[in-house]
Amino acid sequence: MSSTSASSLTLAEAASTGSDHAHRQEDAGELMHRIEQFLYLEARLQDTHAYDDWEALWTDDAIYWVPANGHDTDPEREMSIIYDNRSRIRLRVEQLKTGRHHTQTPPSNLARLISNVELVRQEGDEVHVRANMLVFEDNLRGETIWAARNEYTLRMVEGAFRLARKKVALVNNHKPIFTLSFLV
């Protein structure tokens, strides 16, 4: 995030001005608003199976991680439900687009709620964000509810946020779970 852009004034900068409390509140609010809008956009693209648009959200060095067996495992040593680099994210999307990835043919009907959004910290052009997520999935098997505590690293690229890292920590990831083949 460029520090010269008024709309991307960092929290640290806002705090350091010190003189204008109201102004600082407004800038922090504006940043949160932009973060939330981005998370809602991603949620909508996922819920509507807009595969290409969703893939375009990721940076080239992206990591997409859904841990298993707890929330602080080491994905380089232990099994994860998803641990995708950028090229595997593309493969995942391409498989969905063939129309023959049977577990998503027909695709799940989805509605997800994103809430409890918190800005954890800001570093240069990146923000670290936390949010809770609840997904209702309806498919041939039946209805499933998924709940997760998500963590995101969003990077400002040419004036818009991109996903550099996303961690989906399912609250029940230590138990047997059904197939999770939609874009989570």
Binding site: V66, R77, L140, K175, F178, T179
Partner: protein, 418 residues
Amino acid sequence: MLHMPKTPDYRSLVEPTRVHSSLYTDERIFQDELERIWYRTWVYVGHVSEVPNPNDYVTKSIGPTPVLLVRDRAGEIRLLLNKCPHRGNQLCAYRRGNRTTFTCPYHSWTFSNTGDLIGFAFADGYEGCDKRQFGLGKVPRIGIYRGFIFGSFAEDGPSLDEYLGGAKASLDQLLDNSPEGELELTAGFLQHRTKANWKFILENETDGYHPAFVHSSIFQVSDSGIGKLYDPRSSALTRDFGNGHTEFDLRPEWRRLDKPLQWFGTNEGRLPDYVRAMTGAYGPERARQIMIDGTPHTMIFPNLFIAEIQLFVIQPIAVDETIQHVTALQFKGAPDFNRRLRQQTMGSVGPAGLLLADDTEMYERNHRGAAIRDPEWLTLTRGLHRERRDENGYLIGHSTDEVPQRGIWRHYLELMTA
């Protein structure tokens, strides 16, 4: 609804080339299977590398029954039932750990990790009681073959060695791929839940007829060579080892191509440390042959599946619910190889796997179909005309033939009518 037999007569439900749908959906049959298969034969429980140190334990299962796989103080492997003999409380609520004793949270009876009762709480109420009568339940027989731990609830019966029979060669083939001849299952398990009967999974593991269709999406977008193994021109074989154990033998194809590590979709240049370690361990000629042949694709009845790069454990929960536990194979002394095994395993299996999600979708559709009335019989005739015996007397067929499924059901009928 399906016509349910009044009392299951297995001889009228399992024929040489067809099986009745109720075998997958009848609750009574599932209960029979627990008694006659899961609580009688040898069942894979876990691997010695999951409890490497004295006093390590990990929670495992035999069918729906939870067991504690323990390495006791003296280093001996034990299988204890995770149930307090006082009032039946779940004894241990943690999945793994290291401890010399287990204390029941309900009334604080304490057991050593050998399963013996050490002490009653408020012992004055138990004056004259013999502690030896109140130990933890045990799986009476434990058999270990090259680190693979099997348990049997039957006090006697065939030895593990007899039971595994020809399938031992598959486990040997697997361990040859480690420069130290050992596995270390250290990556943790993914647990994939499915609303389907366990036998659909058992049968699918060596069904070579489906990959071209079920996995066409991933074959189309990745440059995996797997698809070719299961097309009509493949020289790969299916084999029925007897006792319900089955395999795909992919070696004929790999030997035809004659390229080390082709089976893993890579080459020697990409895994120099591994190749060096293998050559050091086995000598250049034997190492080259092992790396051409690759790992097995073998289903050991009823629940251990080695799928080239992964180890699966099938756990039946109910007539219509099964869990697939899966982890990446990890070979002792091969860190560069292991990293790739983990990466590929994470991509392909588990709830979000690019391969297994589609298999699992099929199991669930199979199961819903099996509950429908007509036709009640499911057919297994593929390749019957070209089924033949290999030099060891095992039945073999083309990689897309239903030799394994017929073998599974032949064994099933023996167990269910014994």
